[in-house]
Subunit: 127 residues, 2 copies
């Protein structure tokens, strides 16, 4: 069975994709892919997601320059999730200028910001 | 805003939850939670998921004994994904007897099993 057919796509034709830093092991983000985004990721060697909000392909880093070079692509026992090992350009995955999008931690009552901003978003996204 | 209300739940009231080994950094699995599962995870200190296939709460390890003690709970910039730092009992998260559910890797054409079975499932699930 072709590898893309072995995956379980949801009702919208999507699969969740976790990007993990290949060196530090830090989980950087969770985004979504459709078949074409995943195939394109393999072809280009850089992460390409499907933006659910914008309903279009999202070449990670297309505006920020913070591309993700993909070193390995895994799936799980159910074939319904993807795990990417990536080299994160600039060491910043999040549009807020943080290393990881997972920068809120809960104390069981509130969410606290627990990671620093490494670069001002105004600098990242200046035209 | 109460922390559970700050999250973005999907049309089925679910949010994807990544479990990461607190010590090794290995991504162990991706499962789903509803509000009650996440609240229960905080109350119990052990991961509780919502099984989409069985449509019921899934206390991770309830059959296998491979519970996940939760050390930290994070969410991302969009509040639409959860990242758990866990101590994995037995060092095995997957029902196949492997450390992680993400044991298939692609060469761009097929999926290859790249991780060893640490314990025979027949031993894990014997009654």
């Amino acid at each position: 069975m072709p590898w893309l057919d072995a995956l379980t796509w949801d009702a919208d034709g999507l699969i969740p994709a976790i990007a993990q830093d290949a060196h530090s092991g830090r989980v950087l983000m969770l985004a979504w892919m459709n078949r074409e985004a995943l195939a394109e990721t393999v072809r280009e060697g850089f992460a390409v997601y499907w933006s659910r909000s914008r309903q279009r392909f999202w070449r990670k880093g297309e505006e920020s320059g913070h591309v993700q070079r993909v070193r390995a692509i895994r799936t799980d026992c159910d074939g319904d999730a993807i795990l990417l090992a990536v080299e994160q350009e600039g060491g910043i995955a999040c549009h807020t200028g943080r290393q990881s999008c997972f920068f809120y931690q809960t104390d069981g009552a509130h969410w606290q910001v627990v990671d620093p901003v490494l670069k001002n978003p105004g600098e990242i996204y200046k035209k």
